[in-house]
Amino acid sequence: MFTYYLELALRSLKRSPGLTALMVLTIAFGVAASMTTYSVFRAVSGDPIPWKSSKLFVPQIDMWGPNGRGSDGEPPDAMDYNDAVTLMRDHRARLQSAMYQISPSIVPADASKHPINVSGHAVYSEFFPMLDVPFLYGSGWSTDDDTQRAAVVVISSKLNQKLFGGSNSVGKTVNVEGKDYRVVGVLNDWNPQPRFFDVVNSGGFSTGVEDVFLPFQRAISVGIPNDGNTNCNAVPTESGFVGLQHSACVWIAYMAELDDAAAVIAYKQYLDGYAHDAQQSGRFGWAPNNRLRDLPAWLDNQHVVPSDTKVSLLVALGLLLACLVNTAGLLLAKFLRRSSEIGVRRALGAPRMAIYAQFLVEAGMIGLAGGVLGLLLTGVGVASVGWVLPKDIAALARVDISLLLITLLVAVIATTLAGLYPTFRASRVQPAWQLKSN
């Protein structure tokens, strides 16, 4: 029976090629616009570390007080040096790391080559296990290396390729800011988007690669300055990078791994106790106003997904809706034009259900055709977002199997839905009327 309906639908579609083409095009454009914007939205709103994001927390301490809060009462979104180092020393989470963005120079061993700039972070040893950072060779450094401010470095596979031709460089030496560092680990490809461990400085997404990681206290002691944002509520009383470390300016990101609800509560209590002590000692002239958000909540709070992306998706969905209304109208016209045919079929004994089936199959076929064409258009759309969107975001949008399936599914389901009412009307055709008028 289904093949019979298919045949009927095909014949009907062939009979009015213009109208059929119009409906297919409508569905294709509607679906392609939605899917292209959805591919961008999906790319930027994805969870960068889904297996662990609910265990990763970002603490915020209100070290500026009421005058420094935003209009929403939020404390600063980064930490000053004093608090970050104290939290590291207290070590209340299972794993944690303070970090700041650096942009040191690397001097190639080959004297004929110019020095290059790389970007990266100064972090603590627990950064690597906490974020499940994948290593190609070697590993992160030890806690001892943290405390002894060891001259060790973890480099990206890209930098390893550049400096050592991709061979195992563990134990070899890299010149960072004019000083020699021993390579302890080479990362496997690791380019999480968004840069969830430091969204304040990366703004969420980044086209660059994190090329070097140095021990935090090492970078401080040799004076590698921070390359990211610095926010101050008062002018530092001392100048320079050392003055920054003594100031209440915020420039350090912080992340902690808390494995269960009890650990989260304990850590929250610890933060409040810390702020309370600061209030007692007179350093803070206000009650504790801390935050402890898990990673998804933090990314949301930092508006990592650009509002343009959301608005685009919304507008494209509106377009899809308009396309469906349009298709419904055209299907209605098309189906009712065949009232006499329906009348004959009904008179010959076809039940209402058969009419339903026949016309829904026809709608579904239009949806499928629209979906296939929509797929091609989505491919074109995703390929061309690079022309219109910022590079860091456009680079993330891609077509994959799941997008292909969703596109087809949306097209077929949406068109069938649009066909429901016209089909209902078609099934209501009175056979007697139609037979009489002809």
Partner: protein, 416 residues
């Protein structure tokens, strides 16, 4: 022609009428908001920065390897002489008109923002402003328009470490800053206090306009800028260079070899090291332009689809009413009457759609305001949108309506 028979006929096609009206409403709601977004973005992208002939400008960012620390006096002097040597080298290049050390440039998306107050040790700053630091050639190199007071002289210029807590002695501010702080228009010679400091800074000049270096999302900060006569010393330096007219590419090409010849122990990034201002501007506005293009594409698709839908459905109605049209023609209706009938019918449906569409458009705009910090859409956009969809409906209905008017009266006698 009376509207009554049209309404009576529409009653027979309720579903079709509702669908067309709904589609026109959706189209109107979306295109109003989309065109509003496009308009806003284009306005933002086309606003002048305040710099004259900015297409001749480019920015050099370079970093010294193992540079001395700017925090100790010896290191500071060493860094400053390194920077001065670089500047002299750049100024001597044949295709370079002028060059100046600069902390940032408009639209660079990286800069310094501070507070300006009118009293010493003021608790809360009167305004926030962009801080630009440059030497006596900065004003002319950027091509800023001085509207009051004077430019900096070489004697005014201090050199300081980048993270210095001392306040500059002199400042040039933009007209919006001067107007805000000194509404009487007598800013030159007046004293301001930076970042709640107790040390005064004297305003010596006012420039017409200088856009912010950071993304200000259209706030007043966009035009609140101040320029200080300070050459900042750090492990990196930024220099803005004005090429001689038409010599931009040649000047940019000459930079790397010249600087490496002075001192090879430095990093000049392959992509970000030497950037034309055109490039900086394009980068800053890429998202805005992209959004405008995306919204235009959506509008185009939407209008085409709506027009095609109207053509399709009206054609169907025309086909369905062949006999009635024939009867009307046989009873004396002229071709033009039939044409007008369908045009009026479309106007009626589109009108209903437009009324619903106006409500939807305003609702969508309000929703975008609360969720995405969008601005309120001026009524003019809705009015233009209504006219656009009505015109679109008339254009789309014309072909099937003409076909209807060509139905010969003899059809009435056929069949039945």
């Amino acid at each position: 022609m009376t509207v009554h028979p049209i309404i009576a006929a529409l009653h027979k096609h309720k579903a079709g009428v509702v669908l067309i009206a709904l589609q026109i409403a959706l189209t109107l709601a979306i295109i109003c908001n989309a065109i509003f977004i496009i308009g806003q973005r284009i306005e933002r992208v086309s606003q002048p920065t305040g710099m004259h002939e900015e297409n001749d400008l480019f920015l050099i960012t370079q970093q010294w390897v193992s540079a001395p620390s700017a925090d100790d006096p010896g290191g500071l002097e060493k860094l400053d002489s390194m920077q001065q040597t670089d500047l002299a080298t750049l100024r001597n290049l044949p295709d370079v008109a002028s060059a100046a050390p600069i902390r940032s440039l408009p639209l660079l998306r990286s800069g310094s923002v501070g507070g300006i107050g009118l009293k010493p040790l003021q608790q809360k700053d009167t305004i926030d402003a962009n801080y630009y630091y440059g030497d006596e050639q900065a004003l002319s190199t950027l091509g800023l328009k001085l509207v009051a007071g004077r430019a900096f002289t070489a004697a005014d210029v201090q050199h300081k470490p980048m993270r210095d807590q001392g306040e500059p002695v002199l400042a040039i501010v933009t007209k919006p800053v001067a107007d805000k702080l000194f509404p009487q228009g007598d800013a030159v010679g007046k004293v301001i206090y930076l970042d709640s400091s107790g040390t005064p800074t004297t305003v010596v000049g006012v420039v017409a306009r200088l856009q912010s270096a950071v993304d200000t999302a259209g706030s007043s900060l966009t035009w609140y800028s101040a320029l200080f006569p300070v050459r900042q010393d750090a492990n990196f330096s930024r220099t803005v260079v004005r090429a001689k007219p038409g010599r931009l590419e040649a000047a940019m090409r000459a930079v790397r070899p010249a600087l490496y010849a002075v001192n090879p122990m430095r990093v000049i990034d392959d992509e970000q090291g030497v950037r034309s201002f055109v490039d900086i501007r394009a980068d800053a506005y890429r998202a805005d332009l992209g959004m405008a293009i995306l919204m235009s594409v959506v509008c185009l698709i939407l209008l085409s689809i709506t027009a095609a839908g109207i053509v399709g459905l009206t054609s169907f109605w025309v086909g369905q009413r062949q006999r009635q049209i024939g009867v009307r023609r046989a009873l004396g209706a002229r071709k033009i009457d039939i044409l007008h009938y369908f045009q009026l019918e479309n106007l009626l449906i589109a009108g209903i759609g437009a009324v619903i569409g106006i409500l939807l458009a305003i609702g969508l705009n309000l929703w975008l305001i609360t969720h995405f910090e969008m601005d309120r859409m001026p009524v003019i956009y809705v009015l233009v949108g209504v006219l656009a969809v009505l015109a679109l409906g008339q254009a789309a209905v014309f072909v099937p309506a003409r076909r209807a008017s060509n139905v010969p009266p003899v059809v009435a006698t056929r069949a039945v």
